[in-house]
Amino acid sequence: MNTWFIIAQILGVITICFEFASYQIKDKTRYFLVTGIGSFFWAGMFVAMGLATGMSTQASLIVAATYSTIRNLVFYRIFLKNTPQSKEFGLNFLLAMIVVALVAGGISVVNAPEQVRWLHALGMMAALAFVIGQYLPGVHYVRITVVFYAAVVLLTQTPLNILYGDFRWNIMGIAIEGAKIISVLVFYARYANEPKTPQLMLAKP
């Protein structure tokens, strides 16, 4: 077996660990750090896959994963600093990211075969919803949108993609997206029976 393929699988397993862990974290700052590191290994996995199977098939995924890594780590810095200036920068960065995603998604939709354009459009919407969900306050938006996003990615990048008639057996791709969905389910199962604490914590007098 190709060494780069094996390295890609190892990086995929590391990605799964970080992605699973990130959706167990309530604190936004730590979430962005852990998911940012996960995205870094995710990008590494696609690079290794490209070296194993040819870069042309992985280029767009490498770009997407790198974009995700940069976005998560920039958001991490913004939430860590937590100043009006950093938040203003964060929002401008978010808007720029949305524009980039819209342009890239639009091109992808236009270039896709006509019968599956709706699927690409759905993917673009899911990605946008997820990026906005990450930035919105609270623990729920990011988890709801990531499940939607992961489900669409599963549909487009895995054997579930029956519409293409293109049976891509990317087991690691399935596992990573599956890990996100399972992690969200575990998160809600873990905290479902926890004594209710207020979402907002105020200081004692």
Partner: protein, 276 residues
Amino acid sequence: MFKIISDAGCDFTVAQATEFGVETVPFYIINENGVQKTSQPNPQDYMDKFTPYLKAGMDILAITISSKLSGSFNSASLAADMLKEDFPDRSILLVDSLSASIGQGLITREMVKMRDAGFSIQETAARANKIVQSTRVYVTVENLESLKRGGRIGPTTAFVGGILGLRPILHVVDGQVVQLDTVRGKKNALRMIGEAMVHTLKDEVQNVHICIGHVESQPDAEAFIAKLESDLQITLDTPLTEVGTAISTHTGPGAMAFAYCKKYTAFDAVALKEAA
């Protein structure tokens, strides 16, 4: 005998100030191109308020809005220094509330209670400084434009926050206003603050004073109080307060403020003597 004097940051009405025997020093309201701004009282304003009571043989205990939000404390300090030469036998003590609006109002009310209970000016000032440390003020703002004008948020944050219906929750920490959290929707913000107040105060509700304030948002504030009183099984002993211009110019209409502090009776007498 001592006179309690507060700047207008305490948000007392004229009737309340008269009832409590508190003299207030107003802020200056400036209208710049249709936008209201406030300016602190100057030292002369404080001297004009202090002097008649000093001449009448009374000491002065003055409380001001946070020194990190306004120069009012500085003006009062300068006035006190200048008057010391003319009235060497009189005491002029100052309390920096490190707070504003209903937070400062709660501290002032406790000072009034201590004065009426026969505490000396030194005891009252020492306890007031303890109460300052226990005072918490939270504000939720509906109008992001006001925060943008005040430089607290940037134009993009105001624009996107407005579209998404985001409501920042601000709090006063060490005398400065900082953002605690952001919540979607006013209803959600009020629910979260209500739940958090019940969670924080339920075990010591007998030892705290709570006050709710609003800026042109009376129905929401009344509904909030009714729910809070029901959840905590108390009746608030401070009336719903309309937040004054010193704060409302920064928050705009629709804002609500929530404050609580320890009652003066909650502090240990020995510890207070040490602090004095």
